[in-house]
């Protein structure tokens, strides 16, 4: 069964995933909007940077973050001079790593949704006296709502499932940085297969249920498109 240590791990994992998701939705919205609207040459490079975690081994990302945030790294020196201490092996460090690692899973669905909305609804809103900011909240956000659900679920689930970054950046400090995936790894190392089974099985169920919910609650684009095109 799940003991106190396991419950602590689960709570920490959920706290990490929730924090990461909220930060990502807040950061990802303007970033995705910019990527969807811009004609700047920076769109390519920035888009590629955001997508990097899709192909990069998490260990690599974790390694560079460790270097940057470590005592000799620029970020590390900054946080030390600000009196914040060092970020690696802390919850905050994990959040920063997770935000970067899960970024594409939040930014890309939002960007796709913003692009699919097109210029017309924005122009209509402008001719109906809505300022650009007003238009964003009254037209763009409601129209992109399904994408927000996808983005939140994917960002959350992906953060729950991360391992490489945590290992590099967080280690396995109970209540601080020991998340489920690391705990499973520790159990297996110690040949505690039954405890590993509980957590691994739980994670498997969780992931399946999340995706099931996503696919059932949100029938894919075709239905909406056919309604849009209906011209009788």
């Amino acid at each position: 069964m799940l003991d106190d240590a396991a419950l602590q791990t689960i709570t920490l994992t959920i706290r990490l995933a929730a924090t990461t998701t909220i930060i990502l939705l807040l950061l990802g919205t303007p970033l995705a909007w910019w990527l969807a609207c811009t004609r700047s040459w920076l769109k390519g490079p920035i888009g590629a940077l955001v997508a990097l975690p899709l192909v990069l081994p998490p260990v690599v990302l974790g390694f560079y973050l460790l270097v940057l945030m470590g005592p000799q790294g620029p970020i590390g020196q900054l946080t030390q001079s600000l009196g914040l201490g060092l970020l690696p092996f802390s919850f905050t460090g994990l959040v920063i790593g997770s935000v970067l690692y899960s970024m594409p899973f939040v930014v890309q669905p939002l960007q796709n949704a913003f692009e699919a909305i097109g210029d017309r609804p924005l122009e209509v809103a402008a001719t109906l006296r809505a300022s650009p900011l007003d238009t964003f909240f009254s037209v763009v956000l409601p129209l992109a709502r399904p994408a927000y659900l996808t983005a939140a679920v994917m960002g959350f689930a992906h953060t729950v499932g991360e391992f490489g970054i945590v290992l590099m950046l967080g280690g396995s400090i109970p209540g601080q940085t020991r998340v489920i995936s690391v705990q499973i790894y520790d159990h297996v190392e110690a040949l505690e297969y039954s405890q590993a089974h509980w957590l691994a099985g739980g994670l498997l169920m969780f992931s399946f249920l999340v995706l099931l919910a996503l696919y059932t609650l949100q029938p894919t684009g075709r239905k909406q498109k056919s309604q849009k095109g209906k011209g009788t």
Binding site: E123, V124, A125, A126, T127, L128, R129, V139, L143
Partner: protein, 358 residues
């Protein structure tokens, strides 16, 4: 100062827009031209949806753009209404909330038209609670027009609002447009490439060709000017104003007077004293040298030929003057030669069909 004054000059790739307009600030002005003539480009620049540098635009005394002193009012600050070619309702909102969207953003003292009046004008009372995506194309367009009007615009811009609809739905909506034009005192710029819509709705006309103004003036005048494309082809027609003087209910006929005489109309619903706008298509007019008797044609007017112009290799378009009213007649080149028609010929125009436009 009730004028709309606009100067736009812009080159976009192979297309260049170069117009200087001074239009009446009341009634309906149609911007007419073939596709690619720059009609939509012009309308979008008037709305401020696109910006042409070095331009000037003032609407009834209010400057919306004047690049010489750095004035460019953003779209959302311009008191305009815009109806797009395809009805772009907000699909996440009900009809009612679509109507409220713009209206809520206009201050109470700037609201001059009541929402109920607009809803009644466009006949959308029964649609208010519906979701926008469940409406038909014609219904959506009516709601889109109502939504634009609900902001009490001081200028209504319509970009081929009927183009995405089939013939029957077009015919359904036109009367609504005519009613709102007649009842609301809002100047309208109406982009169209359909001569019949222009004839029915517009008082004033801007003919656009390849980004330039070909001609600009009262609709009636421009429609019968043989040097302009509007006076050619199957849809060429003259519009005349007439006053109903007599109704012959037994025959379902009404008679109306215009400068060229009395014209009989197959419409028993008109009332004596009513002003009507009548359209006479060039293809429905034939020419005789002497007044015919023993013919089924009721409408025969004495006219003089003012001009002749080739319409197609075998056909000529004649400009006619019926004592001050311009008419058009399309006849074969052979007939014209046989009758010896030339400018100044005094002849009779037999009109086979007339349409009352309302």
């Amino acid at each position: 100062m009730s004028r709309i004054t606009a100067t736009f000059k812009q080159t976009l790739g192979s297309f260049s827009l170069d117009v200087a307009l001074d239009l009446p600030g009341r009634g309906v002005t149609a911007i007419f031209g073939a596709s690619g003539a720059g009609k939509t480009s012009l309308l979008r620049r008037i709305a401020g949806l696109e910006r042409a540098n070095g331009s000037y635009l003032s609407v009834n005394g209010e400057v919306w753009q004047d690049d010489s002193c750095g004035i460019f009012m953003p779209v959302y600050q311009r008191p305009l209404g815009y109806v797009f070619q395809e009805a772009s309702l907000f699909l996440h909102l009900t009809v009612r909330r679509n109507l409220d969207y713009g209206r809520r953003r206009v201050s109470a003292d700037a609201q001059r038209v009541s929402l109920d009046q607009i809803i009644a004008l466009l006949g959308i009372e029964d649609l208010l609670q519906r979701q926008s995506e469940t409406l038909s194309g014609g219904e959506r367009q009516r709601v889109a027009i109502a939504r634009a009007l609900a902001t009490s615009p001081r200028l209504l811009l319509m970009d081929e609002p009927l183009a995405s609809l089939d013939g029957q739905r077009k015919a359904d909506i036109l009367p609504y447009l005519e009613r709102l034009v007649a009842e609301l005192d809002i100047p309208v710029l109406y982009v169209s490439h359909a001569p019949d819509e222009v004839a029915r709705l517009a008082d004033h006309l801007v003919l656009l060709d390849a980004g330039r103004v070909l001609a600009c003036g009262p609709t009636r005048e421009l429609m019968t000017r043989l040097d302009l494309p509007l006076a050619h082809g199957d849809s060429a027609a003259a519009i005349i104003d007439a006053l109903v003087t007599r109704v012959e209910a037994a025959y379902h006929l009404s008679y109306a007077e215009f400068s060229g005489g009395s014209i009989s109309l197959l419409n028993p619903l008109l009332k004596v004293g009513q002003r009507v706008r009548v359209r006479i298509q060039a293809r429905d007019v034939s020419i005789t040298l002497a007044r015919q008797h023993g013919t089924s044609v009721q409408n025969i007017f004495a006219v003089s030929v003012t001009s002749l112009s080739t319409d197609s290799p075998g056909q000529l378009m004649l400009g006619l003057d019926a004592n001050g009213s311009a008419l058009l007649a399309r006849i074969t080149r052979k007939s014209a030669d046989a009758l010896g028609l030339a400018p100044g010929s005094q002849v009779f125009a037999q009109v086979k069909g007339v349409a009352v436009l309302g």
